[in-house]
Amino acid sequence: MPGTLDPRARGNSVILGLLAVFLLCTPFATWWLSQTPPWYLPFLAWAVVLVLCWLVVRKLRPHGL
């Protein structure tokens, strides 16, 4: 796989992506949608995922570019 960042960075981003897929594309998504949570709750969860993303990338430097 072509990479410009260390393997750990790539691994962390894949984990984040899988987390997002889990929240949105699995039966778990069907479950939380059927619970009719407060309308702003999905946005809060979205914000939490973005904070995790910020934590993953904040120390990264693209190599060789």
Partner: protein, 971 residues
């Protein structure tokens, strides 16, 4: 509240003008460069993703499908969360190979002009509904605000003309898509802020008007739980998953997204910030939709749900808010059209117009102006085509429905992207088959039904007719991508992959430049200009070669073949940024030819191969990594050798110049590599060139090094072998600095000379004593002598004796002073004369006087060398013979020519050298004499002197005497 149409028009025009001023001012430096290049502008500029679909259409979509409006933003979020593994590799590929569009990427990866053409056609067809959506949104919103005075079509035409003018002004000022549009990025960032601000304000106003604030909204939802259920329920039944996937693909494959993410990227670090920054922007944008939806349902502003935004602004009774909101919509539409047409114009020019019409820039045309005007014409044409689609598509469908048609078209490129990033085996046949298959399903299921009203074709229940209209998106997505992926995988597996395709796949994955093999026909950058000019024009050819030289840090005098190959590759990359990779490759292959009939030795590609290995080494695994370590280890051995190592090709190009050579010559490897030997500075070029021409495997030479005096060098050479193929014409040279050894030898020779003089001291004293005694006697007689004749005779005898003394002293002094520190250039030396001079020195000693000398060396025999050193040779040989013979010793000297050699024999009639000693007589400090009588350096010194003269020494001895044979090369 109605607005005058002219008010709306002028406010829109003024806003667009403001955007232009921002862009222009940024590029003129009104905004400091550090500020303009800040990542925040890049991240905000990605907000061009949010068009009128987001500004108006999302509310309408949420009204029908509830929270299912959110996947359009969540899918994009997933794509950006995967930035390190998805977007960053694409960015690096685009930067490395100067690829400015998705068509460029696929044309490069699959090494196919057809791939570029097909991608461009699909992209053009797929994006037109999206452009039509923007035109419709602006026209309908304008019509509603103007109170329905004017037809939508007229408004659409006015908008199309206005935005076309600005699109051409904004985007087609630069010559090539590879040039960054910093001003445009800042302007689009400003536009994103306007959109977001307008929506946030409208959401707040909506909550205030309908619910008295956010708390009121929550209370209203609590009192009306069916509203929340209606918000979530459609997502359970609707196209949630397919929308997620479509948005994931669109986030980086839409032309405007690709352009902003990759082509306009100035710093890769900005993309890392965008991985969370851009989704945060989308979050802020999308969180406004539910409050606006519910407020609109409560307030009923007199518009359809898609224009609740405008309706609520009107209800606020604030004309300013209405204008701002209206401009938010204008902003969203115009940014999308400007960036999309900019990107598509370049794509169409590079992959449709130029290749298909086989239009080539001619020498008499200004290439850059031609490209600029062609792109402007294409922008106008595309906007016109968008207007046509606006007329043809059903206005009864939602704005989002038109947008989804485009999203599914973009999703057809996902399998191809897999082949770019991860699957090296994918080939052009699989890519084209998959893309055609998926596109056909897309055309059948979505595009044609929307355009001309056909029914999607369901054959044998496959795919089956959807139960509800909304299911069509899910079905169309599933079946089109299934066909696409299946054909892509199957055809790629069953068909072969070409060599260039394999190289391109490796380049995409290894992110290194594909290697070019063959010998360049051109041998200078000036010749590159001459060869390119017939195609690009003189000015453009010179500009492109100059730019490539500048990119590589080379100059116009460069003539090293490996650097010129790099220059060729860089020119291709730069042309690729201007006119696409396919056309760039065609021009470079045709005009900057490589001669493949002459297969260069591996040595010529060493530097290229090593650079490639160095750039890829971090990605080696397993056995490959071990081999690379072994390569480095062996290379380090050469670098660490205390001998200078030079490798030259058959045509004397230097391909190895190790650290010892750098230290010896003061020439860095970077200055030596690739050059010919003769191009090296003096004295090295001449010295090494002479040695190569000499043809012999060994040589001794000296070099006058500026600032360092004379260095004595020992040179060795061999031809390099290639396993299984024998010796090549490439050479390996070793250069050994023997200066210190030579100085030591000289000192040793001088010491031996002085030592031999010491041994002569007693004899010399006796020799000088005799004539001194004679002079004293004659002087005493003169005191008493009166006879003038006798006085005269005595005086003559005194003078004779003093001459004798003078000769002895002169001989001794000249022998002592011979072999000074500076070597004289070789001169013809008479062997007979040298032997005679040596005899004169020898007869000063008692034993030497008793020896019988028979010098039979012919007068004419001469050798090239140092006369005094040769005298020293004979002195040492005579001295050894005299010491060995004791009484009635006889020394016979003979010499003859044999071919190109001169053989000199010095034979005595002494007792001979014992066999045990014979093997050691040439060893330094070995002597059979008692301590203090011999240094053991005489014969070793003789041996060194003979060797320095290119000769050999041989000693034969038996009980009848010893014969020393000296062999010299003839002069």
């Amino acid at each position: 509240m109605d607005f005058n149409l002219s008010t709306l028009f002028f406010s829109a025009a003024a806003y667009l003008l403001l955007l232009f001023v921002i862009a222009y001012g940024t590029e003129r430096g009104w905004l400091p460069r550090a500020v303009a290049h800040h990542p925040v502008f890049y991240v905000l500029a990605l907000g061009v993703y949010a068009t009128t679909w987001s500004f108006y259409g999302s509310v309408g979509f949420a009204e029908r499908y509830g929270i299912a409006y959110l996947p359009i933003y969540l899918g994009a979020t997933i794509a950006f969360l995967l930035t390190p593994v998805l977007l960053m590799p694409l960015l690096r590929l685009a930067r490395d190979q100067q690829l400015t569009s998705l068509s460029d990427v696929f044309a490069f990866r699959y090494h196919s002009q057809a791939a570029g053409v097909l991608v461009t056609l699909v992209m053009l067809t797929g994006i037109l509904p999206y452009i039509a959506l923007q035109i419709r949104a602006v026209a309908e919103s304008s019509q509603w605000l103007a109170g329905g005075e004017t037809t939508v079509h007229f408004l659409a035409v006015v908008f199309c003309i206005t935005v076309a003018v600005f699109a051409i002004i904004f985007g087609a000022r630069h010559v090539t898509p590879r040039e960054k549009h910093t001003g445009l990025v800042v302007a689009i960032a400003f536009e994103s802020l306007v959109k977001l601000a307008a929506l946030l304000v409208i959401a707040w106003v909506a909550m205030s008007l309908a619910f008295d604030g956010p708390i009121g909204l929550n209370r209203w939802l609590a009192d009306n739980p069916e509203r929340l259920e209606a918000f979530y329920q459609p997502a359970l039944d609707g196209p949630w998953m397919s929308l997620l996937f479509l948005a994931f693909a669109a986030a980086f494959l839409l032309p405007r997204q690709f352009h902003m993410i990759f082509t306009e990227n100035l710093k890769p670090g900005s993309l890392l910030k965008a991985s969370w920054g851009f989704p945060a922007y989308l979050l802020a944008l999308s969180i406004c939709i539910p409050p606006i939806l519910w407020a609109g349902q409560v307030l009923q502003p007199g518009t359809g749900p898609e224009y609740y935004v405008l309706g609520i602004a009107v209800l606020s009774d604030s004309p300013l808010l209405v204008i701002i909101t209206y401009l938010g919509g204008i902003s969203a539409a115009s940014a999308m059209i400007i960036i999309s047409t900019l990107a598509l114009a370049s794509m169409t020019l590079n992959h449709l117009v130029l290749p298909l019409t086989r239009a080539r820039p001619r020498q008499d045309l200004d290439l850059y102006a031609t490209l600029r005007w062609t792109r402007r014409a294409l922008i106008a044409l595309m906007i016109a085509a968008g207007y046509y689609f606006f007329l043809m598509l059903d206005p009864g469908e939602g704005l989002v429905d038109w947008g989804l048609i485009s999203f599914l078209a973009m999703a057809q490129f996902i399998p191809g992207v897999v082949g770019v990033l991860w699957w090296a085996r994918a080939n052009v046949w699989g890519f084209i088959a998959g893309l055609l298959g998926g596109t056909l399903v897309w055309l059948d299921a979505l595009f044609l039904p929307a355009l001309v009203g056909t029914e999607p074709f369901f054959l044998l229940g496959f795919p089956t007719a959807p139960e509800s209209p909304t299911d069509i998106y899910g079905l169309a997505t599933f079946w089109s991508l299934s066909f696409n992926a299946l054909l892509f995988a199957a055809v790629s597996t069953l068909t072969p992959q070409t060599g260039p395709e394999r190289q391109a796949a490796e380049a995409c994955r290894d992110l290194g430049h594909p290697m070019t093999f063959g010998t360049l026909v051109a041998d200078s950058p000036a010749q590159f200009v001459v060869q390119l000019a017939p195609v690009t024009g003189d000015e453009a050819a010179r500009a492109e070669v100059g730019k490539a030289l500048n990119d590589l840090g080379l100059d116009w005098t460069e003539n090293r073949p490996d650097r010129l190959k790099h220059l060729r590759d860089q020119i291709e990359r730069n042309l690729s940024g201007m006119m696409g990779p396919v056309l760039a490759r065609m021009i470079v292959d045709e005009r900057l030819e490589l001669d493949h009939s002459v297969s260069p030795a591996h040595t010529q590609n060493i530097r290229q191969i090593e650079e490639r290995l160095e750039s890829s080494s971090s990605r080696f695994r397993g056995l490959t990594a071990e081999l690379d370590r072994l390569r480095r280890y062996h290379r380090q051995i050469l670098e660490d050798l205390p001998l200078g190592v030079i490798t030259v090709t058959a045509n004397q190009r230097i391909v190895r110049w190790n650290t010892a050579m750098q230290q010896l010559t003061g020439i860095p490897a970077a200055d030596a590599l690739g050059n010919r030997l003769e191009d090296l500075p003096e004295p090295w070029g001449r010295l090494l060139g002479r040695f190569i021409a000499f043809g012999q495997p060994h040589a001794h030479d000296q070099a006058q090094v500026p600032g360092d005096g004379t260095r004595w060098l020992s040179l060795h050479r061999t031809r390099i072998g290639e396993p299984g193929k024998g010796r090549t014409n490439d050479s390996l040279m070793l250069v050994e600095d023997v200066t210190e050894l030579r100085v030591l030898e000289r000192e040793l020779a001088h010491s031996e000379r002085l030592a031999s003089i010491g041994r002569l001291a007693a004899g010399v004293a006796h020799e000088i004593g005799n004539p001194v005694t004679g002079v004293a006697s004659l002087a005493q007689n003169l005191r008493e002598e009166d006879d003038p004749a006798l006085v005269r005779e005595s005086v003559e005898q005194i003078l004779e004796q003093t001459r004798r003394i003078s000769n002895i002293v002169h001989t001794l002094v000249s022998y002592a002073h011979a072999g000074g520190t500076e070597e004289a250039p070789p001169d013809p030396v008479s062997l007979r004369a040298a032997a005679d001079e040596a005899r004169q020195v020898m007869v000063l000693s008692r034993r030497g006087k008793e020896m019988e000398f028979d010098n039979r060396i012919p007068e004419h025999l001469e050798v090239l060398g140092d006369g005094q050193r040769l005298v020293q040779v004979f002195v040492n040989l005579f001295s050894n013979a005299a010491d060995a013979c004791e009484q009635q010793g006889r020394l016979v000297l003979t010499a003859r020519e044999r071919g190109d050699r001169i053989i000199v024999r010095v034979a005595d009639n002494g007792p001979g050298i014992p066999a045990s000693a014979l093997k050691k007589v040439l060893d330094p400090f070995y002597t059979t004499k008692p301590a203090g009588q011999g240094t053991g350096l005489g014969l070793p010194l003789v041996y060194n002197i003979i060797t320095d003269h290119g000769g050999t020494l041989d000693i034969e001895s038996d009980v009848g005497g010893t014969t020393v044979t000296l062999e010299f090369p003839s002069p």
